[in-house]
Assembly symmetry: C2
Homo-oligomer: 497 residues x 2
């Protein structure tokens, strides 16, 4: 068998292990009984360890070298696939198997403790576990950085967003830091001058919320033969290839939270379901990175579905689902209620104008912790200081502060910046998509997302990892990733006259 | 590290892979979207392949040989664990990895086709897939048999029930074949003389059935921190260590089917949850085999819970759950309704007196197919002939005939006899348990299963695989596995004066 074919077969096996872990991870967040946590952590650690062994074995290294020698025989997609294999191998080969398993195990344990610590607002309970996770992340960053010629934080970031660097992020985030406080102040001033939205009185039964959520997923083009909608405390899009599972959580007092969450996760799911079918089990057929992934969730949730046009479609659906009528239930009022700007403690509840502040803070803090410039024990104080500086809020307890997110205990260091990079990419893409397809918003108002979906399929989903994020953005929007479209979008929606 | 410790670590990793596959298998039967079937089949095949590589690697073989050299240093449980490791290694090493993956993949595929073929009563649709599964099972039987010094059928059977042989089964099944037809005839004659049970009119809402099922599980001692109850087309007990998941299916016209199914699967689950905690991830901590496993489901469902005593406990629960009262809802009538003897087409719906006939038939047919004495294409005819001979029934279509069970397409050849061997073991154990603990039935009538559970914990569950089935039966009941207690039980319950 030619070495490239050996590699395709081997990476398909790896993908099966990774898909298996995806389903086990989904189960862990949705259905698993508490007493199974230790066993599940073991299962995931062992699967990751086995995948690591497969990826870093001498056979893989030899086949990579041999295939690269004869890369001239490969077509365009195969060459890109081989390059992705090399990238994955370089990341993995840098990290010893013991470290992979130890890190997976420490993160599973810390996640479990985090659930209790957050409920009890007890940072001290999490501290030893978080310190251990950080210690192992620092070690991974150091060994990967040495192999890839990157600083430790860039080495971690590169695993989530290939090619992204602190040197790219810093000036972009500096622009946001300079512009957003004024924008938020203007948005709030405009808001104060306008009539407040009429209140939407609950309760909103879970079954009705679920029905509307499913209707929105269908309208967006989610393929239910290859995916599901379920419930978890922390909504996510997970599962496996051809088995894309999104979750939401229901609050009977507020239907908007679950529905907007469904829209967001459906955006992620469309990317997963739209990856190039022939390559879906190969590295080149994977999503390009977490910044682009987030752009796909936000282009649905924030760009398309916080428009007045979307609420024309939604209003009759929710009126019917909850048996309501009257002035509060017009598209206009629903739109107003779902486009408020209001600094708050919780990142996942933040509006799109204040959300970047949460990310700027976390990016600074995790960079500093990876660089050993901030001790984990000092995290709560630093977090609270940052919230005061960036959003003018005084954090009352760590549940509303540094304990709110799963990322750090879960071992996802270098992930946070992708949220705001994704928001920027979404704004830039939506502008280009609308220019190319002027009927997009008229379609959204009628519940027809086919034009938007078609643009995304062609320019993002079906590309997989054929090109880098930079090239993809340039091909799709004519420019590299920047802040201009995002800031212009926020100005127009919230601070315009 | 001493070789025995190397082995413990390696088998714990293997167990994690096997537990992962257990959850993926559960998910496949309960929640998985249809379009994910091919991917899931790949995942399971790859996990089985990786487990097979771990188990049969040179390092494992070397460590086994070295540990056996110094087995004198090991304690009782460790020595038994080492012997189990050797047994598992011998089974696995006999089969090439390619054959393991090919068999897993063929079975996954055939299972999927079987679902359609059964729904359409179209055996021809399944035929090529079933032939391929059988071809691979024959190959596995041949290579294992050569390595273990067994015939091919015994080699397959040994994987489900270690130590069990055709030479043991044949005389036992001959006794059943000789005695059961007369017993069934006498039971039906007695039934005809007695008043028919009053009908139990539905509908019985699923939510009420589920509530009663959960109450029964709690009464039996199911640990919900380490397990779940869900729904699947074909009820089973699966999942993983510390995550034991049972399923049932609900019929709004007949609450008994779901409840009796829950009792049955809870019996399996108690065995899994009661395995020796310190050894639960090691071979010696596993259940002894599928015959004993079935004995644990049947001792709950058939021995304890088809008694008049049990219906004293159940009657008020179902009256309350379904809001019923009157003569049909007395313990006496419910008991009568749930202890009918009636030959029927479907094995899983059969009463305990006619159930063995379904097994005798399948045992004969699968033995003949493995021995190439029966072609798969001739299976429908042979199945229908057997139903006429054994139960006097004419099979109207293959949905009610040879397409009814998942075992053959699913690759579980050599499994069927364990159902009836388990029924025999259950009767023998229940007699001994009652002799040792005279209060068992009084407890059952009050919903207190602690005496029965205590006896099972001590004599079966907590033993894991410390001793063989023969020794376990002899220690628990004073005799090897036989038909006498089972036949006496059926006589007393159904055919007695």
């Amino acid at each position: 068998m030619p070495p490239y074919s050996v590699l395709e077969r081997r990476f398909a096996r790896l993908d099966a292990v990774s898909d298996a872990a995806g389903i086990l991870g989904w189960d862990c967040q949705t259905l698993m009984p508490d007493g199974a946590a230790d066993g599940r952590a073991d299962q995931l650690a062992v699967l990751r360890g086995l995948a690591h062994e497969l990826l870093t074995s001498a056979e893989t290294a030899d086949a990579l070298a041999a295939a690269e020698q004869s890369a001239g025989d490969l077509d365009h997609w195969q060459r890109a696939n081989l390059a992705e294999m090399r990238r994955l191998h370089a990341h993995a080969a840098a990290v010893p198997g013991d470290l992979v398993e130890a890190s997976s195990r420490a993160a599973s344990k810390a996640e479990m403790v985090w659930r209790e610590a957050r409920a009890e607002a007890d940072f001290g309970k999490l501290l030893p576990h978080l310190s251990e996770v950080l210690r192992l992340q620092r070690e991974i960053g150091a060994v990967k950085g040495a192999a890839l010629g990157l600083g430790p934080y860039d080495a971690l970031l590169d695993a989530y967003d290939p090619g992204m660097r602190r040197a790219t992020i810093d000036p972009l985030f500096a622009q946001l830091r300079a512009r957003l406080p004024g924008l938020v102040a203007r948005a709030r001033a405009r808001q104060a001058r306008e009539p407040a939205p009429l209140p939407l009185h609950g309760p909103f039964p879970v079954e009705g919320q679920r029905r509307v959520g499913l209707a929105l997923m269908r309208a967006l083009g989610f393929d239910f033969t290859r995916g599901r909608l379920d419930v978890s405390l922390h909504p996510f899009c997970g599962g496996a290839t051809d088995d894309v599972r999104i979750t939401t959580r229901y609050d009977e007092a507020d239907f908007g939270r679950a529905l907007m969450g469904v829209l967001h996760e459906t955006g992620h799911a469309l990317y997963e379901q739209g990856r190039p079918a022939a390559w879906r089990h190969q590295p080149v057929g994977k999503a390009r990175g977490m910044s682009l992934h987030e752009s796909q969730s936000l282009i649905v949730e924030m760009q398309a579905c916080r428009t007045r046009a979307f609420f024309e479609f939604l209003a009759p659906l929710v009126r019917e689902a909850f048996g309501r009528e009257g002035a509060a239930w017009t598209a206009e009022n629903l739109h107003r209620a779902h486009t408020r700007v209001e600094p708050g403690f919780i990142r996942v509840d933040a509006d799109e104008a204040t959300y970047p502040a949460h990310i700027l803070l976390r990016y600074d803090l995790e960079s500093a912790m990876i660089a050993s410039d901030l001790a984990v024990a000092d995290l709560p104080g630093a977090f609270d200081d940052g919230m005061r500086d960036l959003l003018g809020l005084t954090v009352p307890d760590d549940r509303l502060g540094c304990l709110q997110d799963i990322h750090w205990p879960g071992g996802a260091w270098g992930y946070f910046p992708t949220y705001t990079l994704g928001a920027m990419a979404a704004a830039q893409m939506f502008r280009s998509a609308q220019a190319a397809e002027p009927g997009i918003l008229a379609g959204v108002a009628a519940g027809d997302f086919s034009r938007l979906r078609g643009w995304l399929r062609a320019h993002v989903h079906a590309k997989g990892s054929l090109v880098g994020t930079d090239a993809l953005m340039a091909q799709a929007t004519g420019a590299p990733l920047g802040t201009e479209a995002f800031l212009a979008h926020l100005e127009a929606r919230y601070a315009g006259a």
